[in-house]
Structures are given as structure tokens and as C-alpha cells.
């Protein structure tokens, strides 16, 4: 009577996953949250650009030959944190014209002579200091040369920062904090999706109809994989946007660091999601109403929050004992380890160990959790105790 073949496990899991994805993609709240996240990220990068580029560029016109004074001005500018471009101008008239047209911020007349003059529209102390420094520097060295003094040996000041390579360090910390916040937000969000989905099926009793066609683990796997694919797509999208944006806006100095942080965040999302989604699903299967969800999710949620705070703290001090120890603990490692990796002082074996421990935890959660889920799914009305669910697996 039925020409249709019976669907296999893969087919059933795929069907369940497909339903989860299409339901979420049509969920307005989900789309809005995605758009808001992306906008926030782009806004953050724009902010970075605005802060780092505000008013530290300048154009200076020099009348006459600038071969000597030009490099001196650029060097002085660099010391003062201003990116100065030197433009050669023909005569004083051209210089006045250029300043009035605001083609240049200032024009230097008679740079090599005894009466150097700086024409500006408005007085600008930084510009004045740069020009003064350059003019006097050039004058002193030419006078010394005229007096026959050799100035080849000018001592260079070597700078040693006690906080390490501070520029890149700050950038890494910031990147790590943003990555961890996103990771945390996505884990919570998709964990909640899984939990709500499980309770929705229990509350609406549709689960009885579903279990007449498939086994509990197939339903659970489909749900977790479907939402996981969506979560992965979202974090990859966000990661790609941040890398492309950061390169385009030239926000970061070391793109390699950013890319490796994004990649490790994505990998840790996969592990973290696998564990937390299973735990959320199992906890949710114990209750039959959305209102009761909060109480059963609290312990798992707490673990995530603790991990998040340790990670934020670890971002500023990645080698603290707390950060090192928690970066191995399954459940905390997905949040803490990426921070340590971003700081760059983690050996490969440490990451491998954290991954292995995490995999062990995931396998345990899936096996024990799967039994609880199967036992609790058909027990509607009130809250099922863990022990009951384990004992009652499909009884």
C-alpha cells in the first residue's frame, strides 16, 4: 500500500533539523537580533576608526627646497604623533594662497634662512612645535657641520614597556573580550532556543506524535544539529564581517592575531554549543511548561555566567592561576581558553588537553542526557525528577 520507503536515521535527523532551521529563519526576533549584532559590530569598528584617526594628520607647505627640512618635519611629526605630509610650494604668494584655501594646514617660509616664518590660518601648538623642532634641529646640525663637528653618533633612546608589547597587547585583549562576549551571547541564545523547542514540543504534546515515528535521540539530535548549524552560520558570518571590516577600516595592526582569535572562537563555539545544548535540552525535558523553564536552566546558566566572568577577568591577566585552571575545565574551557589563546601564551598540548576533556564531557552529557530526555519526554504534568526520568526511560 505504501510505496514510500521508510526513512533512515539520517533522513529523520535531517528532517527535524530542517524544520528547526526554517522555523528560526522565519522568526522575526531571531532575524532582528542577528541584524542588531552585526550593526553593533560595524558600529564598534566605526568608533575605533573615529577614535584612532581624530585630527592627527597634517599637511605642511614648504617654500623652496625641502630636501633637508622635509624629512626633519616628518620625523618631528612622528614623535608628536602627527602624520605630516610635506608639500613643496614655489613662492610666498603660492604659500599664502594654499593656506587660505586650506590646501595645507600651514606653510613654512625661509626654512633655511635666519628668519623662518610659519603661515597658518589659526594657531596650532602641535604644528608650531613640530616646525620649531625641525627648523632648530636642521639649523643646529648645519651649524655643527660648519664648525666641523661630527654628529654621526646621536644616541637613540631604547623604549622598554613593563607591560609588554602594549599596542598589540591591548588590541588582543579587546578582540578577545569582544569574541568572548559574542561566544557567550550565542551560547546562551542557542541554548535557550533548544530548551524552548523541547518544552514547546512537550507542552503542546506534539512529542507523542513525533515519537510514534522516531526515537528520542533522533529528535534530540535533529534539534541540536539544526540549531547548531544556524548558530555556526551566525558566528562564522559575524567573524567574517569583523575580519573584513577590521582590514577594510584598518582597525587592527596585526590581522593574523584577529583571524586566529576568530577561528578559535568559532571552534570553541562548536564544542561549547554541543555541551550546553545537550544540557539545556535535558534540563528542559524535565518540565512541561515554558514558565518552569527558568528554574531548571539556572544551574547550567550559572556555569556559563561563571565562565564568562572568569574569561573577562582572564583577558587582562591570561596567565593567572584561575584562568589557567579553568581553561581545562569542561564547560568553562570554551570561554576561558580562547582568551588565553588570544593572549598567545598557550602551548598546543594545553589546547589539545582542554579539547579532549571537553569531548569527554560532551559524550557523557549526550549519553546520560539522552536517557534522561527519553525518560522525561512523555511525562507531562509537573516537573520530573532526574532520578525518575533515568529509571523511567520509555517505561
Amino acid at each position: 500500500m505504501t510505496p514510500e520507503k521508510t526513512p533512515g536515521s539520517t533522513e529523520l535527523v535531517r528532517l527535524v533539523a530542517g524544520r528547526e532551521i526554517s522555523t528560526r529563519l522565519r522568526d522575526r526576533n531571531f532575524i532582528i537580533s542577528l541584524v542588531v549584532t552585526v550593526l553593533l559590530l560595524v558600529g564598534l569598528m566605526g568608533f575605533q576608526v573615529a577614535v584612532s584617526s581624530g585630527g592627527d594628520e597634517g599637511r605642511l607647505g614648504v617654500v623652496g627646497d625641502a630636501t633637508q627640512i622635509g624629512p626633519a618635519i616628518v620625523a618631528q611629526g612622528e614623535a608628536a604623533g602627527v602624520d605630516v605630509t610635506v608639500v613643496e610650494l614655489d613662492d610666498e604668494a603660492a604659500a599664502r594662497q594654499a593656506v587660505e584655501d586650506e590646501d595645507v594646514d600651514g606653510a613654512l617660509l625661509d626654512a633655511d634662512g635666519s628668519q623662518p616664518q610659519l603661515l597658518v590660518q589659526e594657531r596650532d601648538s602641535t604644528m608650531e612645535a613640530v616646525v620649531n623642532g625641525a627648523v632648530s634641529g636642521v639649523a643646529i646640525s648645519s651649524q655643527l657641520a660648519a664648525a666641523g663637528v661630527e654628529v654621526t653618533e646621536v644616541p637613540q633612546v631604547e623604549v622598554t614597556s613593563l607591560e609588554g608589547d602594549d599596542g598589540n597587547e591591548q588590541e588582543r585583549v579587546l578582540t578577545a573580550i569582544i569574541a568572548i562576549s559574542l561566544l557567550y551571547g550565542l551560547l546562551i541564545m542557542f541554548g535557550q532556543f533548544v530548551a524552548q523547542g523541547v518544552v514547546e514540543e512537550k507542552a503542546s504534546r506534539v512529542v507523542e506524535l513525533l515519537l510514534a515515528t522516531m526515537r528520542p535521540w533522533q529528535l534530540l539530535a535533529g534539534k541540536i544539529i539544526g540549531l547548531g548549524v544556524l548558530g555556526l552560520a551566525q558566528i562564522v558570518l559575524i567573524g567574517a564581517i569583523s575580519i573584513v571590516g577590521a582590514l577594510a577600516f584598518d582597525v587592527v595592526d596585526v590581522p593574523g592575531d584577529l583571524i586566529s582569535t576568530v577561528v578559535s572562537a568559532i571552534l570553541w563555539f562548536v564544542f561549547g554549543y554541543a555541551l550546553y545544548a545537550s544540557l539545556f535540552a535535558v534540563a528542559a525535558s524535565l518540565v512541561s511548561r515554558q514558565e518552569d523553564l527558568g528554574s531548571v536552566l539556572t544551574p547550567t546558566m550559572l556555569a556559563l555566567i561563571v565562565g564568562f566572568f572568569i574569561a573577562i577577568q582572564g583577558a587582562t591577566d591570561p596567565s593567572s592561576t584561575l584562568a589557567v585552571v579553568t581553561s581545562y575545565i569542561p564547560g568553562l574551557s570554551p570561554l576561558v581558553m580562547p582568551v588565553r589563546q588570544a593572549a598567545g601564551d598557550v602551548a598546543l598540548w594545553e589546547v589539545a588537553l582542554a579539547v579532549v576533556l571537553m569531548l569527554v564531557a560532551i559524550v557523557a552529557a549526550v549519553r546520560i542526557g539522552g536517557r534522561v530526555y527519553a525518560g522525561a519526554l512523555l511525562r507531562t504534568g509537573g516537573r520530573t525528577k532526574l532520578r525518575e526520568a533515568l529509571a523511567a526511560e520509555r517505561a
Binding site: 500500500m1 505504501t2 514510500e4 520507503k5 521508510t6 526513512p7 529523520l12 528532517l15 524544520r19 522555523t23 514547546e200 514540543e201 503542546s204 504534546r205 506534539v206 512529542v207 507523542e208 506524535l209 513525533l210 515519537l211 510514534a212 515515528t213 522516531m214 526515537r215 512523555l378 507531562t380 520509555r394 517505561a395
Partner: protein, 306 residues
């Protein structure tokens, strides 16, 4: 044959099913009756793999039901269940696919069944926006959409208005004509009597009576005698050996005769009181059969093989 064979199940100290056995022929409708809490739902859930029997099994074509066979069974659970926010058409398509139809066939079957059950205009609406009666139709569509070989329906008629009852009955009879065995439970015994080829009554964890309605009547008939004696004094039949008065109202008397009692002796006693205007064996209704079967422990002996 769809065979339920020796199902046993207990919840704690409560033995709910104590050897439930019956069989349903392809192309026949089986009405499953019993008091509340008798174990009808548990029996059906065991068939669907939603509860595990301690002993016994359910077979289709001689093969014990497993996950593969169950996908060819249409099921309507007692607790109705659908995704509230999913659209009607998509939901039915989804269930068709879970039962093994490919995307194209599932879409066509979904369109066909929503049309046949009068839901064509509501296909794009979320289930939660529908009236309860219409939700029930969606539930039925979900059970029928995959062209199941067997139908197991738990209280399919409950909550339906008379028009809804008629259209559901029509749909089920259509399935039976196509050779599908249909098992449904119901408290509406008149409906069971009208629709079903055979009936099983579940009480105290066992099938206490099973067979066609006629067979049940045959087992019970020869026991209830209606005698109308307008002039008789109250309690006139009290002295007749082997006869028990079930009811008596102004001479309209219902008597239950013990096996072996001579009905002619009853007639003679009636004639002694005066005029006899009515003397006949009475066909028990299913309601009376049900009451007798459920209430009286002696009827356990009166089991009839289906």
C-alpha cells in the same frame, strides 16, 4: 490481522493491563470501550511504542511492531498535539515526510487532505489560530496523510460537534473500505454500535467481552425478558424461580433469567395475574452490554473470541 496479544502493564502496584488480547481484521473497524482509566490509552500507546509492555506484543501481518512498521500506522493521541505556531499545510507535510514520503508526494498529500477535510482555506494559518474543531481535523489529517496501513485513534470523536462526528465517521469508513484496519476508543457507545464491525470491552485489565455487536448480544440474549402485565400487583414475579426483577413500573417488568430457567413458567405466572400485553426477549443495547460487562465479575466467563 492486527493482533494485540497478552499485553501486561503495571504502574507501581496498579496492574493496568493484565493480558489484553484482541485482533482486528484488515478493512474492519474495531471499537475499543472501557471505563475511564481502564487502560485503553495505555494499550494504544504500547502499540505505538510510547509505553513498554511488561509482557505480550502487538503484531501486524504476524510481525511484531517496530519503528519501521509504526511509520506505516496513522496515530491520533488522546492528548492532541501539534506545533501551535506552525502553519497547517506545512505541518501536515512535515508529518507526511516523517512517515517516509518524499517532499513532492508529501506536499501533494498535504494539499489533498486539507482539501478533503475542509481546511483548504486555512492551509496558510498557524494551527493555534484555528478553532478546536478545526484543530481536531488537522490532527486527523496528520494521522491520514501518509496513507497509513493501520489506523489507531484514541478518542477521535471527543470534542466534535455532530457535523464533525459525521465527517470523521465518513473519513474512517472510507479508510475501512480501502482495507485499512481501524481501531478507535470512544465513550460514545451509540457511535461505536453504528460504525464498528466488532467491539472490545476492557475492564479490570482484560478484554471482558469482544466480538461483533450481534455476537455480544447473542451471548447476552436469552437473559432479559420484558413482560407487560397491566393488572398485576407489584412484586408479582418475585416468586418465579430463576427470575430476578431488573425493573418494574406499573406492570412493565424487566426480568433477568438465570441460565436454564423455563420462560414458559414465567409466562404462566404472568397469565395468573391477568392480561399479558407484551412478552418478548429483549435485545440489549451496547450500553447495557457495556454496563453488564464492566460491572459484573461473572461476565468474565462470557468472553467471546473475535
Amino acid at each position: 490481522m492486527l493482533e494485540f496479544d497478552g499485553l501486561r502493564k503495571s504502574f507501581g502496584a496498579n496492574q493496568v493491563l493484565d493480558g489484553v488480547s484482541f485482533a482486528v481484521r484488515p478493512g474492519s473497524m474495531f471499537g475499543f470501550c472501557g471505563s475511564n482509566g481502564a487502560g485503553k490509552t495505555t494499550t494504544m500507546r504500547i502499540a505505538m511504542g510510547l509505553a513498554r509492555a511488561e509482557a505480550g506484543e502487538v503484531r501486524w501481518h504476524g510481525r511484531p511492531l517496530d519503528q519501521q512498521v509504526r511509520r506505516r500506522i496513522g496515530y491520533m493521541p488522546e492528548e492532541r498535539g501539534l506545533y501551535p505556531k506552525m502553519k497547517v499545510g506545512e505541518q501536515i507535510t512535515y508529518f507526511a515526510r516523517l512517515h517516509g514520503m518524499d517532499a513532492g508526494a508529501a506536499g501533494r498529500a498535504s494539499a489533498e487532505w486539507t482539501e478533503r477535510l475542509g481546511l483548504g482555506a486555512r492551509r496558510g494559518d498557524a494551527v493555534e489560530k484555528l478553532s478546536l474543531g478545526n484543530q481536531q481535523r488537522v490532527q486527523l489529517a496528520a494521522a491520514l496523510v501518509s496513507r497509513p496501513e493501520v489506523l489507531i485513534l484514541d478518542e477521535p470523536f471527543s470534542g466534535l460537534d455532530p457535523v464533525g462526528v459525521d465527517s470523521l465517521a465518513e473519513a474512517l469508513l472510507g479508510q475501512v473500505r480501502e482495507g485499512v484496519p481501524v481501531v478507535f476508543s470512544s465513550h460514545q457507545l451509540d457511535l461505536v454500535e453504528r460504525l464498528c464491525d466488532s467491539v472490545g470491552i476492557l475492564a479490570r485489565g482484560r478484554i471482558v467481552a469482544a466480538g461483533t455487536v450481534e455476537e455480544l448480544r447473542a451471548a447476552e440474549s436469552g437473559r432479559l425478558l420484558r413482560v407487560v402485565v397491566p393488572e398485576a400487583p407489584p412484586g408479582w414475579a418475585g416468586g418465579v424461580p430463576g427470575a430476578r426483577v431488573v425493573s418494574e413500573q406499573a406492570g412493565d417488568t424487566l426480568l433477568e433469567l438465570a441460565p436454564g430457567t423455563d420462560d414458559q413458567a414465567v409466562l404462566a405466572a404472568a397469565l395468573r395475574t391477568g392480561r399479558v400485553t407484551h412478552f418478548a426477549w429483549r435485545e440489549p443495547t451496547l450500553v447495557e452490554l457495556f454496563r453488564g460487562a464492566v460491572a459484573d465479575p461473572r461476565t468474565e466467563d462470557a468472553e467471546v473470541a473475535a
